[in-house]
């Protein structure tokens, strides 16, 4: 079991004084302003904030897909200047390839990174088993529901065994019931594979339910309003949401963002 892997000391991701300014027709727009935080090895951190507060931009900068305007991101002590290799990415939509079966979709990173095929296939099958998709591995994405497609996308993000998992509102396009199921599903996978995970969401309760720590962001320009540790016990269950501690955290974070929960 990979649960046995020991944790590294010190931060894995370090974001220092990060700013991002976009040029637009009406002059420069500041998307992110002076963000600083760190993420430890095997930690599950969620970022919560209003739509348009630059959450996705932040994730892309950490992944090395976008350059920052100022400040820096380091992963394991090395500055990020190009797309990271050791990262799995999950987007809001599954973006599976319509013409590949689920198994072939999960195998895509193995092919592109030219990893050994046999071991890659074994990992793919294990992940599909873990995600409850074994029986659907020879189906095409069009035959699966949105939730199942997104589970396949998570398998694809993990198949090359990256140490870092970045998720950009992965359940934002799903209905509420499916979303709650997916949260449990994700925690199950995470507890087995223990990746350092950074997940962006606009749902406060989702952010609290999943995380070890919640980074709360202000609306435009995005700044760190607060970083809230979540001390709720794991494994989290659906009943966790009835816990007084859970509800208080949701309220505290809601007040910081300016949303009131009665």
């Amino acid at each position: 079991m990979e649960t046995a892997t020991s944790r590294e000391e010190g931060p894995v991701i370090e974001v220092r004084n990060l700013s991002k300014i976009y040029g637009s027709q009406d002059g420069p727009v500041e998307a992110l302003s002076d963000l600083s935080f760190t993420i430890a090895d095997q930690e599950f951190v969620t970022i919560v904030g209003h739509s348009g507060c630059g959450k996705s931009t932040l994730l892309k900068i950490i992944a090395g897909l976008l350059p920052p305007s100022s400040g820096a991101v380091t992963v394991r002590g090395r500055a990020v200047s190009a797309p990271l290799k050791d990262v799995g990415m999950v987007f809001q939509r599954p973006v599976l390839l319509d013409w590949r079966t689920i198994l072939a979709n999960v195998m895509l990173p193995v092919e592109m990174l030219r990893l050994p095929r046999r071991e890659g296939a074994q990992r793919a099958l294990d992940l599909l088993q873990l995600a409850g998709l074994s029986d659907f591995r020879h189906h095409y994405p069009g035959q699966l529901s949105g939730g199942m497609q997104q589970r396949a996308a998570i398998c694809r993000a993990l198949v090359h065994d990256p140490s870092l998992l970045l998720m950009d509102e992965p359940f934002g396009a799903l209905d509420l019931m499916t979303r709650e199921e997916m949260n449990l599903e994700l925690l199950k996978i995470w507890s087995e594979r223990r990746k350092t995970t950074l997940l962006v969401t606009h749902s406060i309760s989702e952010a609290v339910f999943l995380a070890d720590r919640v980074i709360v962001m202000t609306p435009r320009p995005g700044m760190v309003a607060d970083i809230v540790p979540v001390m709720l016990p794991r494994p989290r269950q659906p009943e966790t949401k009835l816990d007084a501690g859970f509800r208080e955290l949701v309220q505290v974070i809601g007040r910081k963002i300016g949303v009131l929960y009665i």
Partner: protein, 259 residues
Amino acid sequence: MGISKTDIGTTIVSILATLLVWEALLWVFPIPSFIVPAPSAIFAEAVKRYPLYLYHSWVTFYEMVLGFVLAAVVGVLLAVVIVYSRFIRNMIYPQIVVLQIVPKVAIAPLLLIWAGYGITSKILLALLISFFPIVVNMVTGLIAIEAELLELCRILHAGRWQEFFKVRLPNALPYLFSSLKVASTLAVIGAVIGEFVGGNEGLGHLIIIANTELRTSMSFVSLFGLSLLGFVLYGVVVLAERLLMPWKKWQPAPQTFGT
């Protein structure tokens, strides 16, 4: 969207009904057969001189298929270089559009001068008239990729070839096939225009002869022959699409009214 036996039945019955009404109208109204022949007379003409029609159908079929295949090859290659080279795009895309705007009927006589009265000029016309939709659709298919998918390629450090063969090319297949369907029907038109303008073979040539001699039943046999040829080529494209894109039936299809 499967095709049921009822669907096919409806089509066949409606075709038969049209022919019956046509035949009946000619019984009722005294229209001379050299103006509109009855379906029975057309059928009789086809049976009586079938070696003639078979030969000329083969010539036209040969021209249109060759023109179509060349159009597909040229169209796909042009689309690839247009997508990958800004320089080549600026150089040839405007010229392709200008070429498309010029009516092919108008350049057919020139092509005959250049390529002769044989089948080459017909193949070239079929190619010219049918390659444009292939280029345009293929270009769209190669660039209409979800932004996240391209980000995924970057994260996976996909090379240009990997991105092309694993993402762009398969993504373009549905676009390619819908343009091939259009092109298959255009290729017939191209071949016939060539035969109209000059030559001594093919169904288009037969139509010209039939018209000068007022043998309308001969015209009609040639016309039916032409639509049959177009239909066969179209059918082959549809069949190839089903074989090459087994996932297509699971892709969200446009909704149709009724059941």
